[in-house]
Symmetry: C2
């Protein structure tokens, strides 16, 4: 009878064919867009980081940042590493979206991807700036339901607009999965991944699970409300938002200044 040591010594893992494994990152940020009216609070837009591919396949198409899992790291570490390489920022939090493994999703061969949402605060991006050598751009995100069970994902950056159309597959466990009808110029199945990520994000924003991670440590309740509204694509009355969020935050002694209207107290996550 074989001992465990002998077994492992003779075990040949290469008997089975193996896939390559990547982590793909849906790096999201909420950008404020200042208006010309000094009194108005800045509006917000959800942005996603895309990279223009310089290589085949999908050369010159836009793709999510990501990279191969290497030995000795977890897939979460890989996602963090890739995010950091692309943005120079260590994200506040990363959230798993799912495993994408449909055969043929990558023309290079058998490649499956673990997808993550990386949430990045605008503050940190402007501090660190990103490596401009790469053709990486933040795209404004619009994601809305059309007639039937179709969705439109529109990504805009300057004069570049990517219009992807997706069909909703099923909604279970609070997550929705999609099928790409038209990629709109996005590489691989990345439209599908982004749609799944946004759907997961909306689901978790309901319980304030992630909205804090888009903001710096101290924030006003209006900022927080705007983050939630931007993600969920809804609007709520400030009075009611305050009450709902009150259990999740603690006051500080500090206030905003010079906003052209009544100063707001800064809060911290509880």
């Amino acid at each position: 009878m074989q001992s465990e040591k002998e077994f492992l010594a003779s075990y040949r893992i290469d008997e089975y064919e193996r896939p390559s494994v990547t982590a793909d990152i849906v790096a999201l940020m909420i950008r404020s867009t200042r208006s010309d009216n000094y009194r108005l609070n800045s509006a917000s837009k959800l942005s996603v980081l895309l990279i223009k591919r310089g290589e085949h396949p999908f050369r010159d198409h836009w793709a999510l940042p990501g990279g191969f899992l290497v030995p000795g790291e977890t897939i979460e570490q890989c996602a963090l590493r890739e995010t950091q390489e692309e943005t120079n920022v260590r994200p506040v939090s990363i959230m798993p979206v799912g495993v994408f493994s449909r055969p043929g999703r990558d023309p290079r061969g058998w490649i499956i991807s673990g997808a993550f949402v990386s949430i990045i605060s605008e503050e940190s991006v402007s501090q660190r700036g990103q490596d401009d050598a790469k053709d990486a751009r933040w795209f404004d995100v619009e994601f809305e339901r059309l007639e039937g069970s179709e969705y439109l994902l529109r990504l805009t950056c300057g004069d570049v607009t990517l219009n992807a159309r997706l069909a909703e597959n099923e909604e279970r466990f609070g997550r929705t999965s999609f099928t790409v009808k038209e990629s709109g110029g996005l590489a691989f199945d990345h439209a599908e991944i982004i749609a799944a990520a946004l759907s997961a994000l909306r689901n978790d924003a309901k319980n304030f699970d992630i909205i804090f991670d888009f903001l710096p440590e101290k924030f006003t309740l209006s900022q927080l409300q705007r983050v939630q509204e931007t993600i969920m694509n809804i609007s709520v009355l400030p009075a009611n938002f305050r009450r709902k969020i009150s259990g999740f935050v603690t006051e500080t002694d500090e206030y905003t200044q010079g906003e052209g209207h009544r100063p707001a107290k800064l809060y911290r996550r509880k």
Copy 2:
């Protein structure tokens, strides 16, 4: 300049080292345990399917069913296939739990696992019966929080009891991740996977997302209530449960019979 075709022809995917990928299955069933009192409704217990390993590593330890991802299938298909191979039952639904990729989790080498919960109705198992050649057994599940942030996972089958202790890592996005303190005789990191699966299950049972899948097509509201209570380890008043669930079910014309008490109307999932 290379064309895409040329690029793909010369692309060599084996340049990078690749992990083996498995799907591990937390197959769950709710078993009714009839009592001696003919009047009493049967109680329920949550059970998980474990397999006694006949091979190194972890020979004679209990492990989750699972197997290697093969080319041409998605990881969900792999999970379905493995469940069916082990139980003879095609599960009503499978729910992703997460990717487990900690280096060293498998002594055979670099193996990462996508874990799924497969929900199986007792009815289907008793109909099809499972292949008894394999040493596969359904273990009763107890999972409870102890002092501090420690959890006890106790799996029982006849006179075999596996006691695993885990520490809660973090609770985010409605899911909790765990670290194994004591495996209690479970192979690999499977105690961690089972704990994560149960935590995910409890989270989704809140919105009645999965409780139907444990039952046959037609069921009484008491059965449904017992399923939720078994999963969540709570108890609610029948009157209130009925009201909460009323929007999710539709009546049939049928009733139970011969239960030693008032017959119950059968319902269907809406």
